[in-house]
Structures are given as C-alpha cells and as structure tokens.
Symmetry: C2
Subunit: 116 residues, 2 copies
Amino acid sequence: MIDKAQALEDSRPKRRLLPVDAEALGQAAECLRTLAHPVRIRMVQLLLHDRYTVGELAKDCGVLENVASEHLRLMQRCGFFTSEKVGRRVYYKVAEPHLERMLDCIENRFQPCAAS
Amino acid sequence: MIDKAQALEDSRPKRRLLPVDAEALGQAAECLRTLAHPVRIRMVQLLLHDRYTVGELAKDCGVLENVASEHLRLMQRCGFFTSEKVGRRVYYKVAEPHLERMLDCIENRFQPCAAS
DNA sequence: TGGACATATCGCAACATTCCGATATAATGT
DNA sequence: ACATTATATCGGAATGTTGCGATATGTCCA
C-alpha cells in the first residue's frame, strides 16, 4: 500500500531543486511585469542603444507624453533606468546591466532576423 | 530658428533603429506577462529540469491545485508547455526552447549563487 | 514678465489578473 | 456501482494596470 504522504509523487525520482527564495521569485516577477508591455519593451530597446528624451520616446512609441512619462517612471522605480535633466528636457538611459541580455533573449525569440 | 518638426529631437544624431513590428512587441509583451508571476517562474524553473504533475507543482509552489492548473493552462496557451495524460495524472513539460535562456537570465540576476 | 515648451502628477473609468470555493470530468481501486 | 483521487472549469470578489484629460511644475526665450 502506498503511503498517503507520497500520493502526489511521481513514480520516478527527481533531481532535488533548491526550495527557492520566495523573495527572489517575487522580485523577478515584479521586474518581468515591469518589462511586460509593448511600449516599455520598445523603450528599453531604444535606450539600450542611446539616450532619449521623454518626448522622443513618446513619439517613437506612438503614445502621449504623459503616458510615456508614466511608463518611464515605472521602469525607473524598478531600477531599469536613470534620468538626467538637461534644460527642460529629461534624458533617460539604461541603468540595469542585465537588461541587455534580457532583450537579446526577447529579440532572438520574436525578431529572428533583426539586423540592428 | 529651429525647425518645428525637430523640436523634440535630441541635439546629437542617433543610430537609426528599425521601426519595429508592433505585432512582435505585442507578442513579446504577452509572453513576458505570462512569465511574470512568482508561481509561474517557479514552475518553469522546475519543469526545465524534469516533468511534473499538477499536484506536485501545486505542492512545491504552495498553491491550491486548481490555482496551479490555471497557471499551467495560461502557460500552455502561450506555448511554454505541453501536457501528457498518464492515468489520472497530467504531466507537464517545457515546449518552448527559449525558456531556458530566459530563466538563465533571471536566475543570473536574482539568484547569483544558485548551485543548480 | 508672459507665453510656449517639456515633463510630471492626479483622479478616474475601463479593463485585466489573481485567487477562491463550488462544481464538473475522468480514471482508479474495491 | 461507488467512493476516492487528480485535474479542470466556472463565477465572482478583490486587487492591479492602463490610458486619458486636466492640471501642476519648471525651463526657456522674446
């Protein structure tokens, strides 16, 4: 007779995986949610190549400037970007070094023939 | 006098970036949203190493089985997993090959000392 | 100083996500 | 046939996200 405690167990033994820090999973999920928007992905893509102002990003992404500003604020709170004020403009640029590998991953999956 | 059409432009010239397929951005965002949940990240992490049943995944993730089932359905719709019925159990396993690089990225950022 | 410009913030409506309990389906063992 | 087990689905409450118009703040220039 099979022990009740093992009722859900697979017949095959499995490699033990770390019980994993719930904290780290939560942070990872938050970062992914922050990236998970077409406009924000595009912004990261642009900012990985150069610095841009809010207005430039808004124009490229086809959104109003206040909307662009909110997306940028979200990503800044997550540590993705830093901003620098120059006159009445604000330049954003990438601060999180892992974003490059992340975007590589995404572009590799969704834009197989991207001649940057 | 500065041309109106260039009002938002940066003083420095920028590398031309592809105007980018809005379709691809939308799909990428959808995939990221699908991954952007602590339980789902953990499930991907587990399934990258072995196959698991719904009950096993639910137990490891600390959620009810119907909740686990819903997370799995989401990811299956996105093409992340396939499932295989064996008796009254359903085994899930990874179907999307890019998930491995993606998780590498995430683990590298959030679990620097992960001895898998 | 006054007006145009660039960005940020606020309140709000529309919409999406998450989780739960209840119920359904289907396979198993007695 | 019947109870049990494993998974899936449904309806709904709570919560989160997005985009918009209006408004605020700060900068530039005439």
